[in-house]
Each structure stands twice: as structure tokens, then as C-alpha cells.
């Protein structure tokens, strides 16, 4: 494989990310040139989350999404085929769609009037015969469409790179987790819809602050979210000391940081000591009737998965999407110091309205721009970002040493995963590793297929019994 070892000023990228020592220069979070490289090297190559097919159920339905800094349109054409197009007219660049969502026959540019069918074809050009006199081939000037799109159990993903591996290969061992994220609570594939609208707001920090730390920074919770946990904002109210986890009482389990260092995905997940799905435990004490619905659907799920070991309920899918039960978190780069944060909330499509309403209320209390938990997080990311732009501040690297050298494999129970203690920085190091690989790569040929890497920098692969 060829590898472009790119340089940043008089320094190589590898001098900024020292995984062996767990030291990372603040430059990669604050430098404008590196940010521009990211847009090209990462966001035109990686598979990115676009939306869900339930957002566009009918021909002509569309919703505007993003890939990196750029707007795209997810649309269902007249033949019910889904497409993802760049939201820009091929004539002079004007946005052909200036609405968040809707239904249309065509996307007509308001500048000069070029008009595109919902399948992307250029169908209307003013003065076509009189002025172009046959010189313009409409077939060459349709909307720019992504190189690959994947409908993965209802969720829509896309990449601009035709050389990217297929989406399921891109996910690797996290394919199953991603699939389950879009199952309804009874375990049926593609059983959800998204609350409308998707939450969108901007926060003053680099996209990697949330993007690399979410599902990779359990150490923050005890301090950052202490007040929220004490306040017991969950639907269980005061029961269980304000925390839902002990009440849910699943099978005996062990929590780990899990990651696929060669792919950059990772999450905080439990390995259960037995197959199947645990019996449902009531937690919606403040929302009458909700537990009845989830108890019923859980029984169906238990029957469906009674013989399977289920690993992984959450995952950060490289580079900027985190999927969790009932919420999808996306961090779009907006500028080097600004992130556009999006939240999509899946809910069982067949759930009664009062269950949907209860879930919506809980999600609004918990996350999003005004959710109590996420306000805690934003305060940290935003001030950390602000305190990292300074000339002096940039002399001091961030510390990503936690758990380095202490990861291990457990191929029997978590094939393909690298594990570490439940509080570690293994996942963040994995993302930084993949960041470096994407930033250096000349093409997908340089970064896929992947070569298995040792669990931690410099660490030999060992079975669990021999792990540190």
C-alpha cells in the first residue's frame, strides 16, 4: 500500500498524535489547515449518517441533511427510489432546496430556473432551445449524487467515495449493533421512525470534542453529570437512587470499553454472562402505562433472541455518529471551532401515541440543546475548546493515557473487539488512530482492507487469560 505521509507545517501528522504515549497536540482540534484537510480526507471518504427512510415515506418526500459542512437532500423519487443529492444547482451553485423537509415534484433553482426531477435529472432549462441551441446535454448536468448510498434496516448512510468498502464491511463487528439500533423494542428490524423534527443547534467547539469523546469518555460522567444523576431526571423518579441502570437489573454482566481500533468504531457495552434478553423491569414510574407497553414488547424480543448473546447497545460509528437506544447523535463539522449538533430520536413506529409522547418528553429532558445532561457536556466541550486555541495553551498536549497498554481481546465473547476496563480512553485512542490513517491516506486502498492492530499501542494481541 502507498501512504501519503502528510506534513503539517514543519511537523508530520504523526508528531501531533503520539498513540504510544497517549499524547495528542491541541493543534488537531484548533488548527484551520488541519480542519480543511479533515473535510477532504475524512468527510468525503467515510460513510456518513444521512437520515431514516421513515422521514420520506412517500414519492416526492424530501429532508435536508448534511455530509461534513455541505447540505444534501435525501429524497424519494416518483418511483419510490431513495437518493442523496448535493444541495446545489449545477448551473451557478444556488441551493435548489431551502426547506428542511417537504414534498415536491421538482427542485427548481430560484436563481435562473434550472429544474431537477426528484431522481436528480435536469428536466427544465429556461431558454433551452432558443439560447443553448442544442449545445447543453441535460443528461450531463443532473444533481450531484453520492457515490454510494446504503439503506441499512431503514437508516440511510452515504459516502462520496466510490472506492469506499460496502457499508456493512465498513461497520465490521459493529454491524449488528447498528442493525439493532433501528429495531423496535420487540426486536423487529426496521421497526422505528424518527421524531420530527431533528434537533439542530451549533456549539462553539471542534467536532472532535463530542465526536471522539462520546461513548469513549465514561470517566467524565461521575463528575460532569453528578448533579443530574442526583436530581433523578429519568422516568424512574427517585427510585433506585435516581439511576435507571440498577433498576433495569439485566443479567449479570461486565461493562467494558469496546472498540475496533482498525476501523475507529467503539462504544461502552456490556458482556452478559448468559444468552438472551433479560426480563423487563419497570422504570417508567412517572408515566402510567408506558411500562405495560415495553413489558409486552420485551417478551416478544426475549423469545426472538433467547439463544443469542447480545453485545453492544451503543456505538460511535466513525467518524461522527453515535447510536444509542432511542437517540442518534451526529456532530457535523461547521468550522474549526464550531460544531452543528443534530439529534434524531427513534421511536417504535407501532407504539401508541402516549408512549411516543412519554419517550419524547424524557428525551427532551435528558439530551438535546436544552436537555439537562447534554448541557453538562456542552459546557465542558465549549470551554475546553476555547481554552485550547491560545498560543501558550497549544504548547501543552492533551492526555489520552488512561488504560493505554491494558487492553485485551476476548474473541470468544466479543469477536473482533478490543476491550478495556469500563473507564478507559481506549475508544478515543482508536478514533485518533483512525483519524491519523484517514488524514494520511491517498485513497481507500491505503486504509481498507484493514490490518488487525494490537489492542493498545505497542501491545501484543493476547487472549483474555493472558491479558494484563
Amino acid at each position: 500500500m502507498t501512504s501519503l505521509i502528510r506534513s503539517f507545517g514543519d511537523r508530520s501528522l504523526r508528531s501531533l498524535v503520539d498513540l504510544d504515549r497517549g499524547l495528542v497536540s491541541r493543534e488537531i482540534y484548533v488548527n484551520e489547515d488541519l480542519y480543511k484537510m479533515e473535510l477532504e480526507q475524512i468527510f468525503t471518504r467515510a460513510w456518513l449518517f444521512i437520515g431514516h427512510e421513515a422521514q420520506v415515506p412517500n414519492p416526492g418526500d424530501f429532508v435536508v441533511s448534511r455530509m461534513g459542512e455541505e447540505e444534501v437532500i435525501l429524497v424519494r423519487d416518483r418511483k419510490s427510489q431513495l437518493h442523496v443529492f448535493l444541495n446545489t444547482c449545477r448551473h451557478r451553485g444556488m441551493k435548489v432546496c431551502r426547506y428542511d423537509d417537504g414534498n415536491t415534484l421538482v427542485f427548481t433553482c430560484p436563481f435562473h430556473g434550472w429544474s431537477y426531477d426528484t431522481d436528480g435529472r435536469l428536466v427544465g432549462v429556461p431558454y433551452y432551445d432558443a439560447a443553448y441551441k442544442g449545445d447543453l446535454d441535460k443528461g450531463e448536468w443532473g444533481l450531484a449524487e453520492v457515490a454510494q448510498m446504503c439503506n441499512y434496516y431503514g437508516s440511510i448512510w452515504a459516502t462520496w467515495d466510490k472506492g469506499a468498502p460496502g457499508f456493512e464491511d465498513y461497520l465490521g463487528p459493529y454491524a449488528d449493533t447498528t442493525r439493532r439500533a433501528f429495531q423496535s423494542s420487540d426486536g423487529e428490524d426496521n421497526g422505528v421512525e424518527l421524531f420530527n423534527p431533528v434537533y439542530k443547534w451549533r456549539i462553539p467547539c471542534n467536532w472532535k470534542f463530542p465526536g471522539f469523546s462520546f461513548d469513549g469518555d465514561r470517566a467524565h460522567a461521575a463528575m460532569t453529570h453528578r448533579s443530574i444523576n442526583v436530581a433523578a431526571i429519568g422516568p424512574q423518579g427517585d427510585a433506585g437512587g435516581g439511576s435507571r441502570a440498577p433498576i433495569r437489573a439485566p443479567f449479570p454482566y461486565t461493562d467494558y470499553e469496546m472498540t475496533i481500533p482498525e476501523l475507529g468504531h467503539g462504544g461502552h457495552n456490556a458482556i452478559y454472562d448468559q444468552p438472551g434478553v433479560a426480563e423487563y423491569k419497570d422504570t417508567w414510574f412517572t408515566e402510567p402505562g408506558v411500562d405495560d407497553y415495553y413489558r409486552e414488547t420485551r417478551e416478544k424480543k426475549r423469545e426472538k433472541f433467547k439463544d443469542q448473546y447480545i453485545i453492544g447497545e451503543t456505538a460511535l460509528i466513525w467518524p461522527n455518529v453515535n447510536i444509542q437506544p432511542h437517540r442518534i447523535l451526529i456532530w457535523h463539522p461547521h468550522s474549526v471551532g464550531v460544531t452543528e449538533s443534530w439529534r434524531a430520536y427513534p421511536i417504535d413506529r407501532m407504539a401508541p401515541q402516549f408512549v411516543k409522547d412519554a419517550q419524547r418528553r424524557y428525551m427532551m429532558r435528558y439530551g438535546g440543546p436544552c436537555g439537562l445532561t447534554e448541557s453538562d457536556d456542552m459546557e465542558n466541550w465549549n470551554y475546553a475548546s476555547a481554552a485550547s486555541f491560545g498560543t501558550v495553551a497549544k504548547r501543552y498536549p492533551y492526555n489520552f493515557m488512561m488504560g493505554a497498554g491494558h487492553a485485551f481481546l476476548d474473541e470468544g465473547r466479543a469477536p473482533g473487539m478490543t476491550l478495556n476496563y469500563e473507564v478507559a480512553e481506549e475508544n478515543q485512542r482508536s478514533r485518533l488512530r483512525r483519524w491519523l490513517e484517514f488524514m494520511e491516506a491517498g485513497s481507500w486502498e491505503d486504509i481498507y482492507p484493514v490490518n488487525p492492530v494490537s489492542p493498545s499501542a505497542g501491545e501484543a494481541v493476547k487472549p483474555k487469560s493472558e491479558a494484563k
Binding site: P110, G113, S115, Y127
Partner: protein, 92 residues
């Protein structure tokens, strides 16, 4: 489009069903012309609206009358400034 639902309808409702050429500068306003309306386009062809994207720019049409017999019955698109007259109105 999503903004359409919230758009005040009074102005366009007054236009539909009343003489279209009564618009301020005699322009034909196509945005709210219903399917089935027949209009004359620049060059003299008479076409019937088969679908209206309601973007004010374009109409999907079927050619009813034309000096070029090969065009009759074909589907086409008509741009707003090329629509010069309403031949037959349809009640909404």
C-alpha cells in the same frame, strides 16, 4: 414544500377562477394553476397542465395543439415566462 401550508392563500385564491391576465403586468401567474388548465405558450402551442410543482417556475404539460404534429400528445415542461395565456380554466 413545507412553507406552502403556511402561505397566506388570499392573493392566489383570488387569482384562480378570475381573469389571470388581470395580474398587475398581464403576466400569467402559474404557481396555483390547477392540473387540467390549458395554457398557450410562446410559439403558439396549446398545452394542458398535467402536474404543477407550485414553485412558480415550471409546469409539467402535455401538448394538445401545435404546428409540429409530432409534438401533439407528448409530455413537456413549460417555463413561467413562456406561458402567455390561459385558454381554459379549471375550477378548483
Amino acid at each position: 414544500m413545507t412553507d406552502h401550508e403556511g402561505t397566506p392563500k388570499k392573493y392566489t385564491e383570488e387569482l384562480v377562477g378570475s381573469p389571470i391576465t388581470a395580474a398587475p403586468n398581464d403576466a400569467v401567474l402559474i404557481r396555483d394553476l390547477p392540473e387540467g388548465t390549458q395554457v398557450r405558450i410562446r410559439g403558439g402551442d396549446v398545452v394542458e397542465i398535467t402536474a404543477n410543482p407550485r414553485d412558480g417556475g415550471w409546469l409539467f404539460v402535455k401538448v394538445l395543439e401545435s404546428d409540429d404534429f409530432t409534438k401533439i400528445g407528448s409530455d413537456d415542461m413549460a417555463f413561467c415566462v413562456d406561458v402567455i395565456d390561459v385558454v381554459k380554466q379549471i375550477d378548483q
